[in-house]
Symmetry: D2
Subunit: 308 residues, 4 copies
Amino acid sequence: MSERKLTLEQQSEFHYTIGPYAEPAIEVEPGETISVETVDAFGGRISSEDDIPSEALAGAGLNPQSGPIHVEGAEKGDTLQVTIESIEPRGPQPRGKTCLVPYFGGLTATDRTAMLHDHLPERVNMSEVTTDGVEWREEITIPYEPFIGTIATAPELDSVSSLTPFKHGGNMDLPDVRPGNTLYLPVNTEGALLYLGDCHAAQGDGELCGVAVEIPTITTITVDVIKDKEIEWPRVESDEYVMTVGSIRPLEDAARIAYAELIKWMVDDYGFETYDAYMFLSQVGSVRLGNMVDPNYTIGASVPKEYL
Amino acid sequence: MSERKLTLEQQSEFHYTIGPYAEPAIEVEPGETISVETVDAFGGRISSEDDIPSEALAGAGLNPQSGPIHVEGAEKGDTLQVTIESIEPRGPQPRGKTCLVPYFGGLTATDRTAMLHDHLPERVNMSEVTTDGVEWREEITIPYEPFIGTIATAPELDSVSSLTPFKHGGNMDLPDVRPGNTLYLPVNTEGALLYLGDCHAAQGDGELCGVAVEIPTITTITVDVIKDKEIEWPRVESDEYVMTVGSIRPLEDAARIAYAELIKWMVDDYGFETYDAYMFLSQVGSVRLGNMVDPNYTIGASVPKEYL
Amino acid sequence: MSERKLTLEQQSEFHYTIGPYAEPAIEVEPGETISVETVDAFGGRISSEDDIPSEALAGAGLNPQSGPIHVEGAEKGDTLQVTIESIEPRGPQPRGKTCLVPYFGGLTATDRTAMLHDHLPERVNMSEVTTDGVEWREEITIPYEPFIGTIATAPELDSVSSLTPFKHGGNMDLPDVRPGNTLYLPVNTEGALLYLGDCHAAQGDGELCGVAVEIPTITTITVDVIKDKEIEWPRVESDEYVMTVGSIRPLEDAARIAYAELIKWMVDDYGFETYDAYMFLSQVGSVRLGNMVDPNYTIGASVPKEYL
Amino acid sequence: MSERKLTLEQQSEFHYTIGPYAEPAIEVEPGETISVETVDAFGGRISSEDDIPSEALAGAGLNPQSGPIHVEGAEKGDTLQVTIESIEPRGPQPRGKTCLVPYFGGLTATDRTAMLHDHLPERVNMSEVTTDGVEWREEITIPYEPFIGTIATAPELDSVSSLTPFKHGGNMDLPDVRPGNTLYLPVNTEGALLYLGDCHAAQGDGELCGVAVEIPTITTITVDVIKDKEIEWPRVESDEYVMTVGSIRPLEDAARIAYAELIKWMVDDYGFETYDAYMFLSQVGSVRLGNMVDPNYTIGASVPKEYL
């Protein structure tokens, strides 16, 4: 099928909550490929190392989302399949922004882990980003390993902050949601209503300071609908592994969800017996820490396909 | 002012998500008193000790809410003051329902604390409830100590499951939200949009099995608006104490939020210095565990007014 | 029987670890009453509001314990019964010390909840303590409600820091361990080897800043042995209630332990059926937060005796 | 220097607690290489798929440790450097044991996460283990990737169960403690007193069911002492990365410790500024989940050496 586009102009208004209450920005057929112009997690409001994040970001939402994309024929009880085709950085250099935001991050008091400390210093790091690499400092270039930080289908009744990952996907900050891989999300409402944004040029495990190398992009995905296939939590598939994703606090519960879902997958689709899968994953399971900074923490648990 | 009524007929449709997207069920003025006919947390679908909860509750929402009540003049940045006047049980006896629902409760695996166990047995306990007491068993009557389990203002953009407590209030299951006390909630949207339901005839600390003595009621409240007063989390005031409420996981973070908010209150309104308040609460602070079973756990931290 | 004494002179060396490797400071018979001269949690090294805790406490242990008391005939598999007879403050006024210690407390980064913040300010509050009250400030007197902060039997093989509460008791900081109540501890080794110290003149729920009103005392207890009665976690009994104690992180797991142990107690000794007890505690159970600051957090769960 | 041996015969009695109270099994000089005959985590008491773990393991300790190895000249305030030279499986085939033990594992209620569930089924899986691979099932062979599950220096005063990881190392179950890598442990007592055991032929992230492929081994290590170098938590170094290790509950606190220690290392030894390191690790840090089943959970955080 032809490639569709969702440009900044078509989008016009971005979303800070992910739910069934917004009008679709675009309607597509199953199997279609869509190129989406995403903005960065700060909506472009950070553009210099002299910016003070708390001032630059005051009075506006965080983590603006493109979409929702209405997928024809998707209904509650189906699964949405999203293949990530490519993620191209766009916009003027330096395009990559990392910063320290007061009371947000993995090694600071937050509004959830409340303490009496003053906030940590504010900082901004800007970096040149091309598909060849991220120039973190003049002397340090790290690989360009882009992925979609936030991507979700609408819940059925609730509308969830774009900062929060949960069963519907959301702000998972999981590097496995990258070009070449396929993401599966539960469909909870008519048309699935897919939102996405918050693309990263690079990110370590846990997104420690709360911010990756944030970039605006052209992100190209192909969507499809698997009818009458229900999943409770997101799943990822690469050439090498299958992965399940859990997002909750405390972090051990995210790991429990991810592994319990992985066992369910192995039992349902690959003929494993529950307790054999449990003992086997104890030897060959892999865990990826997505984020340890968002309202829910995210863990992906995976098993190599060669064993399935 | 005259007393207003929000009857079952006026309500007609109950809400399972708390957000800014529903039409008001009633519009009131600041200072008005409203009598609300609430349904129980199961929407009346459990009515016999022979019921099997997972069957009786299948295919419908949990924790139906009355409202939203639109309060004239309330705007983002204000505080909504809700005085609980009375909670009268209603409906045919036995009115009180407690039960064990699969994968829900404090001593069971859940969808968040995922494990490989089969669910615990299902059970229903029905009890006669009057204002004189709750007849738990023929030989055991416990005091009628009613309170509102779920009460919340609408978030600004998000819509939160009625099962979840957070900054907006919600399913706190905190016995201090009882007749004679006053609850303060942040106003996040025009008209405040107050939801309530899930009244309990009695409940222990933590709501251990996930279910209190659930009853339909006539709950009477008086609402008022405190202009230009911003609070981040719910607060409760009784004749004897002031209390702040935190709802999050893990439970220590709920306690941290509650105590940090209490210190803020003591500093802002009662002239304490931050670290003096911190050391003083270490000697005289009280903690009430609301729930340890909902999507977020709830703790109220309080200090006697005599020390303020 | 006659009353025995364990004086400072007899004790000579205090203990900072609770295990089976120390020589008994005193040997007693079951049924005997012992008066113990305890030192405060700082070993007396804080004595003025001008002290800087990190300096005053440098190079020495925290939470010195008296004992161990060897109880004749106690063996692994028994339960030690400790009735708290009285707690008298001793030493020159002002006897009560509260302070802020760097990286210790409920609303600060710690060595376990590691962050990048500088530590909070250091503070000392001294107070006059008599059995009539604790003079917190000139204008604020709070009730004298003394209890034993740390009390434990030796584990079988391990030796546990006196700062840590666990199955053997330890630094529970639970106000229910007070005069008039009885504490039950598991016996893990020959002679039980009871340690105690860290008495508090007053403390709020959670011991928020990490420090109560710490005092040296004469603490009088009566010990007895219940043969062939195994308990896994500490228990407390007052005239009005029975309570079980769980100490672990995160805090919800402490609550789970306490309530699960309480159900076990109600089933074993009071004829309840497991799931009835579970549903009933959901209505009448009480939770006391001991501490939210020590290496393990402590919760006591109780039920009124009138229902047993 | 010559290679020393610590055989089963020399060891005679194994240790189930790690502390300063045991006599050294062997005394070595800094720089010496020692070959240790370790027993498996079950002390060989599981040897057939027909064994029932709860019966086979009743009445005896778990996780027996070899040692302690006294390292001449090591004193409190030093760091012990342990280079893992090789890990050879030993004993009759099938040598590898995995099993499900009641109330132990990542997806089950435990004595710490107490619930009312019956325990999961018991299972044993035996596997042939050679340096060529682990024959999990006839049709599935997984790589032989051995490491030391438990290795620790003695704490100064406490004695810690061999099942528990903490600052001294212990039951970290971290696959990075493998041949070719170097482990650094704090020295807390004269002679360091190094214990080790619990070797694994293979293990996935988190050791999900609580048990890896447990094997008896000949484990060869070289020990050395870095004088006057204090570390608070274990560290690992490979050719490619440096890693810090945190062990605590909840799991996010283990991640916080590991990353905070890694920042400290980068600042102290590699010239980074604190907040630059924080932001940089947000892009390039890696997290390895050691275990999510032991009394403390273990996370290793690492950064590639190429960036240092």
